[in-house]
């Protein structure tokens, strides 16, 4: 047998194995927030007092009608929903969260203590069922659908909410969560407060006539570098601040890999970044070394703003506050 052929075959075999390993690395980075301690945790030990509400039904965004009668043990699959639940005063009932839950600190602590379901897009059924939840709540991004089916098959009410990507959607989101939890009055109050804050921030932004081009670049260490475009919650924030979403405006839809050309085409005057992800990359200095970044108007004027990612684009109870801060950062001197 030909020696060269064997070498090629060996090379390919190695590649296959390495490819498998790379896949592994990817999986572990996404779940690295939940290392070994999760295996030893026993989250089902303490049980808060049962909170029975009047039995009601809710038709989710997936068209499934769910009957909810007990909200004593809630598993929240999205960080923004967790924030709303805590803001409604039902935080003590939350027994499990997903890795995107970073606020409030009591909720983030659940993640650190191992009371996590991991990554909500790649759920495993038992990772949720081990909390013995009486209600599982998530939006349309959670999956895979077979696992949602398995949870429902196990008799657990799973409510899937529409994924909101606009500032106006914040109201719908809060009201829906409150309705599901049997707290419509608290929900109406919270929605009114948050929408009031959002409107105030919008008005503040309207006082400035310029409409700068702003790009949201999502970084998480050196591997993940995405340009956000249309249909992302960041578009709602940028447009709410009276600016132009440079990604969406140049035809970017959803999150796309940030290429130098895409960024130069977007020509943002300001680039907004996630704080923790930027720090993991090595700060603005390292970010500026990425091809294309320094040549954008933002790069030339050193116009970068970093916010905690959940704070900036969760579109939850803190949306108005975040928008206000964003507007004041964008237009210095506005509103006094």
């Amino acid at each position: 047998m030909n020696r060269r052929t064997t070498l090629i075959a060996l090379g390919i075999a190695t590649t296959v194995v390495l490819a498998a390993c790379t896949g592994d690395a990817d999986t572990t980075t996404t779940s690295s927030a939940t290392p070994a301690e999760t295996t030893t945790s026993s989250p089902t030990t303490s049980s808060p007092t049962t909170t029975l509400i009047d039995e009601q039904t809710f038709v989710g965004a997936d068209g499934v009608e769910t009957t909810i009668g007990d909200v004593s043990r809630i598993v929240s699959l999205n960080g923004d929903l967790t924030e709303i639940i805590f803001e409604l005063g039902l935080g003590d009932n939350v027994v499990g969260v997903d890795v995107t839950t970073t606020y409030p600190p009591e909720a983030a602590a659940l993640n650190d203590q191992g009371a996590t379901v991991g990554f909500a897009q790649q759920l495993a059924p038992e990772a949720v069922l081990r909390f013995e939840p009486t209600l599982v709540i998530g939006d349309q991004q959670v999956g895979p659908p077979e696992v949602i089916e398995q949870l429902r098959g196990a008799g657990v009410p799973v409510v899937i909410l529409e994924t909101q990507t606009t500032l106006d959607g914040v109201e719908t989101k809060i009201l829906q969560v409150a309705e599901i939890l049997g707290a419509p009055d608290a929900g109406a109050e919270l929605a009114e407060r948050v929408m009031g804050e959002i409107d105030a921030a919008r008005e503040l932004a309207a006082a400035d006539d310029s409409d700068p081009r702003i790009a949201y670049v999502y970084v998480r260490g050196p591997q993940v570098l995405l340009l956000f475009g249309a249909g992302m919650p960041t578009q709602g924030m940028i447009e709410g601040a009276g600016a132009i979403d440079a990604g969406a405006e140049t035809g970017v839809f959803g999150p796309v890999a940030m290429t130098p050309e895409a960024l130069l085409a977007a020509a943002p005057a300001v680039i907004v970044l996630p704080e923790a992800g930027l720090a993991a990359l090595g700060g603005i200095e390292t970010f500026l070394e990425i091809p294309g970044v320094a040549k954008t108007p933002a790069g030339q004027n050193d116009a970068f703003i970093a916010y905690d990612e959940a704070y900036f684009f969760n579109l939850g109870p803190r949306a108005g506050q975040a928008l206000d801060e964003f507007v004041r950062d964008l237009y210095p001197g506005i509103g006094g």
Partner: protein
């Protein structure tokens, strides 16, 4: 008496190995089944696990299971275990059949490209009709790819490694197409690229099991009944023809069966590589070259291998699960390498 039994033993040096192989695999299957049903992120006491099983066969024994225990053991772990058994058995069997058919013991349905080809159909099918659409699409595309592999292997038939090389190239191209489909499709209906490259049993439901099993059962019967024909065809196609075998018919039927079987597994659990390579290789060393014992042995051992690999995938960093294909590749990849280097030395 003594003389004749010694004669038998020397005529079949594998007889004694086969004697311990069957109980060993049977014990392994039982152990894997018990572990799969009783271990997991949700703690279910052994008594309750037995209680669930007893209740299902109409016996009121052991502990009275809670509703949660029944949902977990019967609703989640049982279909997953059975799907792991069915998929593993099929992949082991298909590996044995393809290796006989192509007279190449490096043949693995996924390394040859049949799995990635089936994944194209399965990804399209999943966009149209969930897991059942995925299985139907996988079966259709699997059969087509099986014939494409046959055409390739005819051209490269002088050097067995060339067949594998052309298969690996084909697999790379087809996997790329799977990627195009996944990234173009709606993320909420089509599983992500990891599923199609590395497989996962996380979404195992009774419905997925039922649909896949219908295909796997029929195709396995066909493949198992081909053992004698594969023995004869091992002499070479020309000799098999001289012995009165309709070689083209056998090839056609077995390729359809193998392609459909692989396609059904891909639709249900994605591409789990190296099972079809590793399992027949190990079994052949125990049972000898006769296809009858090889195919039955590969069926049972394949079931054991995938069920065990899925246990590792599920429990290693629980509650987070890793793709089962990582585990099979971690075990199977080195064996593949060793097989390749050994061939050069020979």
């Amino acid at each position: 008496m003594t003389d004749s039994s010694e004669l038998v033993a020397s005529a079949d040096p594998y007889a004694s190995r086969r004697r311990w192989f069957i109980p060993a695999v049977a014990l392994g299957l039982l152990a894997a089944a018990w572990a799969a049903l009783s271990l997991g992120a949700v703690a279910v006491p052994a008594g309750e696990v037995l209680g669930v099983l007893a209740a299902k066969v109409g016996v009121d024994a052991f502990e009275d299971p809670s509703q949660q225990a029944e949902a977990v053991v019967w609703g989640i772990r049982m279909p997953r275990l059975l799907l792991a058994f069915a998929v593993g058995a099929t992949l082991g069997l298909v590996g044995g059949v393809l290796q006989g058919l192509l007279r190449n013991n490096l043949a693995d349905p996924h390394l040859l490209g049949i799995g990635p080809g089936a994944a194209i159909g399965a990804a399209i099918g999943s966009a149209a009709g969930g897991v059942q659409g995925a299985i139907a699409g996988g079966v259709a595309a699997g059969v087509i790819t099986a014939f494409a592999v046959r055409l390739l292997s005819k051209r490269a038939s002088i050097d067995p490694t060339m067949i594998i090389l052309s298969g690996v190239a084909l697999a790379a191209v087809l996997s790329a197409w799977v990627g195009f489909i996944v990234f173009a499709a709606d993320r909420s209906t089509v599983p992500p690229i990891e599923f199609w490259l590395l497989g996962s049993l996380t979404g195992s439901t009774w419905r997925a099991l039922g649909t896949a099993f219908a295909f796997l059962f029929i195709t396995s019967i066909i493949m198992l009944s081909s053992a004698h024909l594969l023995d004869v065809m091992g002499l070479g196609e020309a000799d098999a023809r001289h012995l009165g075998i309709d070689v083209d018919l056998v090839l056609t039927v077995l390729l359809i069966a193998a392609g459909a079987a692989v396609g059904a597994t891909v639709g249900a659990v994605g591409v789990i590589a190296f099972v079809g390579l590793l399992v027949p290789f190990v079994v052949r060393r125990v049972t000898g070259p006769s296809h009858r014992s090889l195919l039955f042995g590969a069926l049972a051992s394949g079931a054991l291998f995938v069920a065990a690999a899925d246990l590792v995938a599920r429990l290693l960093i629980q509650p987070v699960e890793i793709p089962v294909g990582l585990v099979t590749a971690a075990v199977g990849g080195p064996v593949f390498l060793w097989l390749l280097t050994r061939r050069r030395d020979a």
